[in-house]
Symmetry: C2
Subunit: 216 residues, 2 copies
């Protein structure tokens, strides 16, 4: 099984990663803006902890949020964190097991998070997170109250130290394996939306808004 493609962006190769991050800024934004959840890594008592959570981008800042009671957010405030967003685009089926792989787009961000206290920035952050998960809802749903804002912890991460890794295309088999009579190629993987399921307590006749019905 080939591991070249999903290999880590080692922290020790940061010089290069930083360079790539800068060079590929549009690619970084594209990967981040195509996702709905990230995996947030923190260090708790010396051990790693990886938590799926929502996020949003505003310019060159990434925001993650959580309850003020969430231990992980409090831990994250105390030190460096890593945020990874991954899109699985296809299964790469090779002639050998070893060269099986995946097509994917992935972004990794290293940052020392800055807790957001300013109510204005907090609102900007929550809007970014909300619009990532549920675009269009900010304009129709009830916005956060002062109390709700206070109950929400928001962390801001600079996107300066980031890297993007992308693998697309057919399998890379060993030359001698191309003679084999084994099907090879790519099985595409996509994330799709199903039919909206109305809440049981919805007022009769409330239509599904276009931004939900036609979301792609």
């Amino acid at each position: 099984m080939s591991t070249v493609d999903l290999s880590p962006t080692a922290r020790t190769r940061l010089g290069r990663a930083r360079e790539r991050g800068r060079l590929d800024r549009p690619a970084l934004y594209e990967v981040l803006d195509a996702g709905m959840i990230c995996h947030l890594g923190v260090v708790a008592d010396g051990a790693p902890m990886v938590i799926p959570t929502g996020y949003g981008r505003h310019g060159d800042t990434l925001y993650v949020h959580g309850s003020t009671g969430a231990k992980s957010l409090r831990i994250a405030e105390a030190g460096e964190i890593c945020v990874t967003v991954t899109h699985l685009d296809g299964i790469v089926l090779a002639r050998s097991i070893f060269h099986h792989s995946v097509n994917y787009r992935s972004a990794m961000i290293y940052a020392v998070p800055r807790p957001v206290e300013d109510p204005e920035e907090k609102l900007t952050a929550l809007r970014a997170v909300s619009e990532r998960l549920a675009p269009g809802q900010w304009d129709v749903a009830r916005r956060p109250t002062r109390r709700e804002l206070a109950a929400t912890a928001v962390l801001a991460l600079s996107l300066e130290e980031a890297s993007v890794k992308i693998r697309q295309g057919p399998p890379n088999d060993d030359e001698e394996d191309y003679a084999m009579d084994v099907w090879a190629g790519v099985l595409p993987v996509r994330q799709t939306f199903g039919e909206p399921v109305p809440d049981a307590r919805l007022h009769e006749g409330t239509p599904v808004p276009d931004h939900i019905r036609h979301r792609r």
Copy 2:
């Protein structure tokens, strides 16, 4: 935005998490066996690093693999790691921004990995990883050679210390918000497979096997 649903399983609540992990063993297996990639968390020089990678389960053991040259795998060998598998099942659209959420299934595993050296177990592990990503391929593709096995690092993780978190169902709005004329409900999210894309160097007339064409 509600953060109750995607809140962390804090390491400090391990007693409870451990209990849930044991009680929900079938649920844990179900979450793991429905995924194709995990997010592997390691600590490198005191900072977290979150890497997307393939994995496979064999009984009560989870296997992750990588190139013997991959720094992250070498780091992972040296200490505790965290593996998280997340399935996004739906966007929960509430009447208030605060109660927007996601439906999801997530598994977190904490373990001190054991490097797999025995060739028999290595083969079992690679089969588990391969069949997770591309079920059916182990029987048709060329299996790993001794040389390829040697070039592949495999780590075994006990599933003993694991937790499962699942959120499904409609939004939980504040009672007074149910009076609002705002559509609320769930937008389902699914991972689907597209039409297989044949490799350009495929022998003419090689059919797409059923296990690829009809994969669900």
